[in-house]
Symmetry: C2
Subunit: 168 residues, 2 copies
């Protein structure tokens, strides 16, 4: 396969990944009741993710990639996203905070690879877009890891209290 | 639930996570033929992971956690690990390099939460162990992200060449 063919496959994967991120962030933010800081940051990143999807679509259009052929990749990614979930577990909020961080790191790894692929495939016009998206993913990942101790502590306090919902 | 009960559940999860890491690293290192740097680093981390499992078992013993009850958690984690795989895909080595990084980040997030839980559950004797493990996971994650561009580039070169295996 040529570098361009591999690169185009990975662009489709990236688009599917962001669509999955959108679903996961949407589901998480709508379920969180008692952890307002986490909810607010997730909502902010949901908006960023919707912008990233539009940016990726400009890259795909520039590379003549037919977006109607992308269902397969999307469903493969969906399985991965769901396994991250831990949703509905008694410690859902802690698992969710961990999953948010891990999914951002997955995105960071994919864009790191994609930047190399864009260089080798000669699509230098798209590299700044990937770097811009990467910066947003890194900011979200950093926020998430910095807040895991706080979410864990709040969960433990709520979990130990009578008549208080802890899980979400 | 008390902080101790939640903490003990998470210790079981951490043990299952490391057992799963051991399986994944083992499977990856035995499949890689053409990417010796990645293979060597994975083998090193496999040895580290086996040491981490022993360390976690000392923590579990100190907390009187019965290790024979841990099968459930292990099988839950196995599903997650497999979905990370991308193994046997034509771009297996690139997906594998990404997965290695992402799984390390999953471990980093879990130990970050576990350190808070150990503090709140009063198991301060175990915190240095978690910090030691965390340092090894961070070193592996940093190595992995720094080598993703190189693995991507090597894969693209091999993939474009006639009669050369690229995938593993």
């Amino acid at each position: 396969m040529t570098p361009q063919e591999n690169y185009h496959d990975w662009l489709r994967d990236a688009h599917a990944m962001e669509k999955q991120a959108e679903s996961m962030l949407n589901a998480m933010s709508s379920r969180i009741d008692n952890y307002p800081d986490l909810r607010a940051r997730i909502e902010q990143h949901l908006t960023e993710t919707q912008g990233q999807i539009k940016l990726l679509e400009t890259v795909m259009d520039r590379n003549d990639i037919n977006r109607s052929l992308m269902k397969d990749a999307t469903s493969k990614m969906a399985a991965m996203g769901q396994s991250f979930g831990g949703m509905f577990a008694p410690d859902e909020i802690v698992k969710g905070a961990i999953s948010s961080y891990v999914f951002e790191q997955f995105e960071i790894a994919c864009y790191t690879s994609l930047i190399t692929a864009a260089e080798k495939a000669g699509d230098s016009a798209s590299i700044d877009i990937f770097k811009q998206i990467l910066a947003e993913e890194k900011a979200m990942a950093e926020w998430a890891i910095n807040h895991i101790p706080d979410v864990t502590e709040q969960f433990l306090l709520r979990s130990a209290a009578e008549g208080v919902e802890a899980k979400k």
